[in-house]
Amino acid sequence: MNNTFDFRETWLHKINPSLKLLTMIFLFILVIFIHNLNQMILFTIMTMILFVFFTGHPYKRILLFSIPFLFIFISTTTSMIFFGKGDTTILRWGLVHVTEESLFRGIHLGFRALTYALLGLTFALTTRPVYLFYSMMQQLKLNPKYSYSFMAGIRLMPIMIEEFQHIRSAQKVRGVRTGAGMNGLFHLFKFTSIPLLSQCIRRAFRIAVAMEAKRFDYSKERTFYYKIGFSKVDVVFVGYFVVLTGLSFYLAQEFPFFPVTDVRD
């Protein structure tokens, strides 16, 4: 999540994080029940608009983050297209058997995977973890014990990355050669995980003690430095999805670009 790099703050950043999280979870579930290919594509376009234009991150970064998801899209789509079942054969070549049904099902599945990625990434790119946990404590009554543990954990991550680099260098000096391939990866894991973990466990314990020394007591009443409430953008955000989901339903019914209403048939 965005602790380290710069971005422009947009209206997506100002949405109540808990509301954003719940909406995302709802949309995740909703997507499972979309079986109409046309509707799926429209829905994906709708989330893509948010992702590309409103996360406030430079386009270069957005493109960079899109690469793995494009890969997921292509891999899920092709595997479903090439090896799926169906009656209307379009192409048969050795093991590969492309049918009309598998073609549509593949494209549909690809778009579904893409939507998940887009929703998740949009959320991650526009939500500061600290605000999310503050909001969850205030709106969802999350126990402060968990929120502050998570926030402390997030703080540890850059420290861990730095430590990992030190350990790698230190072991190069000792003449530890990990080699290439799976074997090398295993050795790398073996040699770095123990010092890294031992350091982390010690750090975590010390932070916990330090937090209690600062009178952290999760059972007590507490005030909040960040008061996170609701605003107009929350309405805009929910409205966006309500209106556009409705619109995608309507357009898919009235102006389909593929003659498929249910990819399961």
Binding site: V130, S169, K214, R215, F216
Partner: protein, 487 residues
């Protein structure tokens, strides 16, 4: 004066240890006292601090027994490690975390935060600054500020400067002195130069956690000098009491040479450190000095070929271009010794590089036994490296460096956070290696080490070696290494 904290007949034992850490220890602290606890590492000073504050057994579960105990009504605790006492990513959020715990209304928080930061002299352009970007000294002052938010009448300071350089140490104590005038302060610390005028009571512990002295500063430092020396405490004048006990002589027929010209080290494709021209010969001990972030560590990493470099780098006539060429020639000792441990016992750790090269078992054993003896680790040879004390870990990491008689030894603050006894021991070992012909290049903040051990000094400023001079105060005056001719 009324008592603020006390414990009577304290008994405490860590699970797994053979003996009690404290046996019937009693101690009373009066209101407003500034108390310094001294003693060898491992004698239980920090544990006592944690017991007096109630962290033991409330937060750290250790079985204890006592007849009577009194905790201060309000207290604050500053810990040793600047990287593991904050739970929030930004300065203002960390202070707000404490204020939230105290149920301070949100509207009062910004003013309180400003007040606390200015009390400890932490001037930031923006209160919403990332803690990660602060220096160690600044982090410790932030820790002090967050503790002050508790409005404590008693402050516990557990070696707050052990991992901080000299400049940061000075700043931390300045802050403490300005905020703690009318508070009770209990300090555990090895480096005590900056606080002697602030302390009015010193308590000295022996190895087995028994109080051997409890008096004012002057009395303790006049009558217990010998014990303080033995316990490795950095009392004023420790360097003068410490005499080099060995003969100094350079040149043993070895003649290693290091030539650098237009040498540059890169981080992320940018020049991070550069050195125009320098050369070094056997028997030189070069101290690399300069401000925080000037590029001292980067220079060492570049010399070890752990970063991308350019320019001429010749070691013993061989042009060095990658780390593999340095395998038998040079060695780098990192600040945290744990990073370099790769095996499960002290013995294997030292024998590792020889075993990898498939040396004769008898040769390996001979060499390892020799090093274990020199480094005082023979008794610990079957221990796991992680189970050693801080001083022993450091010695082990240097021992692994000596296995192959490196011609160039690079050390990044090897005496950092060590008590005086371990520091002296380590310096003697390095000095012995120098006399054997090794070229030592060491980053250090400690001006005493520079003054007394280094034969030559490189000063780095803003990523560039700007000065290169011979150390005039050097004790072993017999060496006349003619490196000047190269400059």
């Amino acid at each position: 004066m009324t008592n603020i904290a006390m414990v009577e007949q304290l008994r405490l034992k860590f699970p797994g240890d053979d003996s009690l850490l404290f046996k019937d220890l009693s101690i009373t602290i009066k209101k407003g006292e500034k108390v310094l606890l001294l003693g060898p590492s491992g004698c239980g000073k920090s544990t006592l601090l944690q017991t007096l504050s109630g962290l033991i057994p409330k937060s750290i579960e250790v079985p204890i027994k006592y007849r009577n105990i009194q905790y201060p009504e309000s207290w604050g605790y500053v810990f040793q490690d600047p990287d593991s006492q904050f739970c929030m990513p930004y300065v203002d959020e960390e202070l707000a975390f404490v204020l939230e715990n105290l149920n301070v209304p949100r509207s009062e928080m910004p003013d309180r935060i400003e007040e606390l930061l200015s009390a400890v002299g932490l001037r930031l352009d923006l209160y919403h600054s990332s803690i990660q970007s602060l220096s160690g000294g600044m982090k410790q002052r932030l820790a002090l500020a967050s503790v002050l938010a508790l409005n404590p009448e008693c402050l516990f300071l557990d070696e707050p400067t052990a991992l901080i350089d000299e400049e940061g140490t000075k700043q931390i104590w300045e802050s403490v002195k300005s905020v703690a005038k009318d508070k009770t302060v209990i300090i555990v610390e090895h480096k005590i130069d900056h606080i002697l005028d602030f302390i009015d009571r010193v308590i000295v512990f022996s190895y087995d956690g028994v109080i051997i002295a409890d008096d004012d500063v002057n009395t303790v430092f006049s009558f217990y000098r010998k014990q303080l020396q033995e316990y490795g405490i950095w009392y004023p004048g420790v360097w003068d009491d410490y005499l080099l006990s060995f003969e100094s002589n350079a040149g043993h027929g070895y003649n290693h040479s290091l030539i650098l010209e237009n040498f540059k080290g890169y981080r992320k494709k940018e020049i991070n450190v550069q050195l125009d021209k320098a050369s070094a010969l056997s028997g030189e001990w070069i101290a690399v000095v300069g401000d925080n972030g000037a590029g001292k560590s980067t220079l060492l990493l570049s010399l070890m070929q752990l970063l991308k470099t350019s320019g001429t780098y010749v070691l013993n006539g061989e042009i060095i271009q990658n780390i593999k060429q340095l395998q038998k020639e040079a060695y780098f000792v990192f600040q945290n010794p744990e990073y370099q441990f790769v095996t499960n016992s002290v013995y294997e750790e030292i024998s590792y590089s020889l075993t990898v090269k498939k040396e004769e078992p008898s040769i390996i054993k001979e060499r390892v036994d020799e090093l274990l003896a020199i480094f005082g680790l023979s008794k610990k040879q079957n221990h796991h490296p992680y189970h050693l004390s801080i001083g022993q870990k450091r010695r082990l990491s240097v021992a692994t460096a000596f296995v192959e008689n490196p011609k160039l030894l690079l050390l990044d603050e090897p005496t950092f956070g060590q008590d005086s006894k371990n520091t002296f021991h380590l310096l003697e070992l390095l000095e012995r290696e120098r006399q054997k012909g090794c070229i030592i290049i060491m980053v250090t903040h400690d001006s005493e080490i520079v003054k007394r051990f280094a034969t030559r000094i490189w000063e780095i400023d803003n990523g560039k070696v700007v000065k290169d001079w011979k150390n005039e105060h050097v004790l072993h005056g017999k060496d006349q290494v003619a490196y000047e001719q190269y400059i």
